[in-house]
Amino acid sequence: MSLTEAREVFVAVEETALNDLITAVCATRPHLLHYGSPAFVTASSTSATQMAPIPFPGSPGLQWSVELTIPRLDLFKEDMPLPPELSLGPGQFSLATEVRLCVDCAGGREKPQDDPDGHDHDPKEPRDPRDQWPDDRDDWGKARHPVCCRLGVYAVGHLVSTWVGGERAIGFALDDLELVDVEPNALESVLECLLAMILRSVLATLSLPVSALQLDAFTLTPTEGPLIDVNRVLARGDF
């Protein structure tokens, strides 16, 4: 069977190369995987993307950050074990990553401290509300009481056709996501929904031009694919 079949040009990218390409993008542009409000991300940069705190009445905003490790993709057929809730079908990829969720626990910062003058605080005196929800815009990048957790994330998805810089590209779309070892189930569901929304948004920013898939070795105008074959992405087209 010919590689090109009825077409003129063929390209196939093994999943190791696809992971190399994704790793190159994420390592060069880590801000694609790291988002946070000012207490965690001083300013947008190559390393991280600064976003607004989560508005909440009575507070200057909840400080947060989300950071994902570089995802590893496994193309159908399944080589990377998945939680039983997920299955990898033809044309799909699975993805494994670890997400680190942080909040700046403002309530927890009020640990009793000795008064410098040696006086106890008079409980009858009204508290300054800013003590509970301090406006810490002067302290951007200084999360005072970061509370974080790490969660292992597994997902399956499929390729989508997209464009980058006026060029045909492949993108990644999420079909399903699963967290492991989170209880109770209701909490797991909430977190899965949250992380699915986050991961879907992250993947939307991640795309690879078709020219990169074949190192620009030949001119390729895809008429078939790119699609996931067995452990590789392939495309055929005209020269």
Binding site: M1, T4, E14, V25, L215, A217
Partner: protein
Amino acid sequence: MSEIVAAIDEGAAQQLFDFEVASLGTMATSGASSLGPFAVTYAVTGMLSNGTIDLIAPGTVRVADLRLDWHIDLSFQLDIGDFIPDIHIPQICVHIPCVGDVCTPKIDIVWPTVSVPVSFGDFVKTTVDLGVAISLVAAIWKVEGVVQGVPNLQFGVATAALLTAIGLAVAAAVGWVPLIGPFVAVLVAAVLAAVGIAGLTGLLGPILTPFISGTRFPITEVPAHFQVLPSAGPFDPAVFVTVDSLGAEVQHNPPEDELVVLADISA
């Protein structure tokens, strides 16, 4: 197994070589050689146009009927005396009574050496087998077709007309020589006989062959530091991967023959 496989069929290879051969442009060379008995200086230009591509596994790209259009400007020194004997007619005196001696003039004709410029163009066709060569030069992976062996040039029928052109050039070059008129036809015939077809091919073959055998036909180039994404703003620098290895081969994948490039990369 290679991480990245890119392949084209024979039809695409034909398009590729059509483009690449046309991109080679005009080639030129000059030098000195011999045309039969004559020492010549020459300047030659040549331009290739592609033939028919045939991919032959495991590593041959055959180009049938590769055509080289060429043009030559050559010049040689023609010592006419080598072909027509110098004329020496001694003075003859006759004594005539009451008149005295009457003498004919002494005639010495020594034929000069003239410069003969010739300008001519034609084409040759040949079939060449290209091997696929990989090199890493200045951080660029190059895949090229390199001519195997020495091509056998098939000169066009019109190349024999170069003899006619030489004859006309000789006639024009000696036109100024006094008393040459009656001898021109003899001279031209003698020169052409001395050169002959063998003299032409003996001159043109070594000059034109390097235009083909010395040519490297580009197939593709891949930077070793390959740019995946261009820079897209202050926080989005260009993204690169390293091409660790590159290979190329012709594969027979029934029912087609395909030119295949194989690569391994790392982030």
